[in-house]
Symmetry: D2
Subunit: 284 residues, 4 copies
């Protein structure tokens, strides 16, 4: 993996932004390995992602950041620049279903997902062996009847302890309290096991079965306070037919969920997602 800086920008659209930013990069001899732009006509907003070879630049990251801040102010940019070699600290929340967790662990272990998995927290204990085999701390934080609040307090303490930057809900199945959604806004990723906005809420495959749909899907989205309503990162579907019963839908759905969550998480980890309102720009 190359050492690059990722400069990600959103701002009101205006003539000359690309020129201004690319001049800046060029001035410091920055070699672009990727450059992506998007101008959204409806909202009058402009989005940009530049990936620059770190060792082509005549200045370091901090100098780059402070120099760029002036341009950013001038154009009212929301922006950041990320170092590709600085791995995000990820904490995964799970329940008892293993497929999404196993898939993420495999991709992390095989160096396909570049991040640090700091810990896995689950409200069941059955996935401990799989997690610990990867030398990742596993915390069993049960959800006791009538004591949900205690569960969330403990989860938040662990997120603090591990300094979680990105939180992945890998079929966690609990509705987080609003202040946690707020706190990790734009950094907490969920996989919903339906093609949203179809079948929000519980048991989407059973809902899909009862409706007789011919495709089932999965949706990877950022978590917001409104359940299943957050910005969508990625979706995909799988064809089904009358021969598939509810259990078949669940089985087929697992593969879609895994793939969709892996893609969505990868976009996030590589700083390819810009959230704008309730939508995302994905510079894939």
């Amino acid at each position: 993996m190359e050492h690059t800086y990722r400069l990600v920008i959103a701002c009101p659209d205006k003539v000359g932004i690309v020129a201004r930013v690319s001049n800046f990069i060029s001035e410091y001899k920055g070699w672009l390995t990727e450059a992506s732009y998007h101008s959204e006509r409806d909202s009058g907003f402009f989005f940009m992602r530049n990936e620059i070879l770190a060792n082509s630049l005549t200045i370091g990251l901090r100098e780059f950041q402070s120099a760029f801040a002036k341009i950013a102010e001038e154009y009212q940019m929301e922006w950041f620049v990320a170092d590709s070699t600085v791995r995000k600290k990820v904490v995964i929340l799970a329940s008892h279903a293993s497929h999404c967790l196993a898939d993420i662990l495999y991709r992390w272990h095989s160096e396909e997902l570049h991040c640090d998995i700091a810990a896995v927290i689950a409200n069941h204990d059955n996935l401990r062996g799989m997690v610990e085999w990867h030398n990742i701390p596993f915390h069993h934080v049960p959800v006791e009847p009538g004591k949900k609040q205690g569960h969330f307090t403990r989860v938040e303490a662990l997120l603090d302890q591990y300094q979680a930057e990105t939180v992945v809900l890998a079929r966690y199945m609990q509705i987080l309290p609003p202040h946690l959604c707020e706190r990790y806004a734009g950094n907490m990723i969920n996989i919903h096991h339906s093609f949203l906005p179809s079948f929000v809420g519980a048991n989407p495959y059973y809902q899909a079965y009862d409706r007789g749909v011919k495709l089932i899907g999965a949706t990877c989205h950022y978590v917001t306070q409104n359940l299943d309503q957050g910005p969508i990162i990625e979706q995909d579907v799988e064809r089904v037919n009358h021969r598939h019963n509810k259990e078949d839908l669940v089985r087929l759905g697992r593969d879609v969920e895994k793939i969709v969550l892996a893609r969505g998480l990868r976009y996030h980890l590589e700083d390819r997602v810009v959230i704008h309102g309730n939508k995302t720009v994905i510079f894939d």
Copy 2:
């Protein structure tokens, strides 16, 4: 196209149905070109479609029907047998959008869809030339403000006049009165321009755009009194991204709509659909 009889059956499941039916066919020397069976465990229902070479049988269609009626009664079957050479009379209802209509006309003209298109009825006049070039009667039945009932009365009279057996709503965009839905239950096919149950109602592509989905879709379904709730025949999707504006979604959607409607209509015309409750079994 071969001359076949299509024997389509739905009944409560029971040991020996396949044996009973296939004995019957075999007794009259029927050669099966296709045979499809489905046993739905949840509902305890059994579905079957046999396609039999007409000239292999030692009896004719009527004799076949009256002989089979006894078995049908014994097993409480809902059933019919259709002659592949008897083309269904189809009337298409349209508005001003041409893509679905043009696609059906093309497939009919090139002998891909086996049916008689008896007439096209539209509440705009712009598609007249295209329809008449195919030597199909075109009726412009406008929808006048405050006089919707008059429109539907005229439409129904035309359906009667042309003895419509199958009605296709090719982006017709009007909500039909309940008694018409009822009258053509199981024989009236709509194309909805979203992946149902997402985005029911008006302007689904705009809804999809606002929700920021990553796939758009279309749904071909039988019309029932509950808008967009009827049994689904076929669905498909197309990938979209942030670069696509509302007009792009509409454009990309047109191709999905055409394909999905054509597939659904073909299943219906070839007697491949069995409706059971609010779901379909498709023997494709």
Copy 3:
């Protein structure tokens, strides 16, 4: 459709290209509606497409071109700038199969494909009615046994007469002489009815059937002297299974062919394709 200029560039990669080009555009107040960049590490080549609102520029197209020529020379660019309102002159070559031709004519007629269809030339006469209904000249140029050369001479004369800029082989099924491929290099588009490089040559669906593949496909590519070897613009596939016979593959294939050719042609007409060696960059 907006009035834009499309500036398309390919050149050896180098620090500062984006800055140089975007400065140029910005200097003349050009408002970017789209901007796409690609840096190909293997070949060290850089590709760029900028779409600029015509009426935002302080200069006209000619002035723009001559001013830009200096930058182009400096960076050894292959480049052009196209006016979105200047429609390319397209001549379609066909045989007797109607599906691709009908699809292109429909998309042109419904203003989805922005071009002028100057004429259709076919070696059968059966598509005349469909073409002439669109008020497009139709030329029947038969291929007589042992007189292929005469056919091609006549075809070339017609291409000259209509000043063809883009030539579309809509299931034309004839192998063009090398000098014609050469003459229209990068401007002659073919649809091959297989997922290339599988099943080059004749009867690809029959080859696919005999091989027992589970997906069939179609490939839209630029024509070169080496049959079925030119740069690929677009491909897609459709799932098939053992129940599909050869005729079914042909039928299913028609839909893939139409869609793939329409997409490829649209990319070409909108100047979204850059050919580099035997590959394409598609700025979709």
Copy 4:
């Protein structure tokens, strides 16, 4: 998982086969949970798969087999009946790439694939930890330069020792000697990392990159003596574009390979595949 018997049949087509077989099943009160039929017109062959609830039958498996043998002889059937609770003994051959192996192990561990994984044999040692964590014996059988024969002798001895019924080549990357292909004909499954017949042989992703294809694929097939030419069980593709370099194709391809191999292996383990000549009928 239900206890069923799977009766799988291939024979020359003839009037009355379905009747004869379903009578037989019905006579012994067999309850069909699935029944699939296929009549191939070209070859005049008939294929059938019946899945029968074991405890609905009035006779046991052996009695069933000997009773059915008479019918089978009469109709010149190739046939077998398999007990769903008898798990096939699977030996996996691997090299150093982990993705397909990890995926199969996960699906086996989570009870999605019903089989016994008797052992994993690999010519590298790096996957030992992953395999042994699943309590499956791992054998490192290196391929030493100039001593390939020794490797294969050892592999065959291990297949004997574990009484392998099904052999899975999970990116094994070695060309097996003909007698081994012969010995496990119809029971040895390979995953080829291209959409066959495109890109046979080595480094298919690099070949695909050089050809500039717009979709990459994977093919699961039975191994025969002719490399990459055996009967295809399953295929799928993934869309790629000019932004993907060779490494991206490899990464994207891994997901397709895993899914395609898992589907193909599942069909095989559930006795859903009938091989006929160089093609397969898949009763999915």
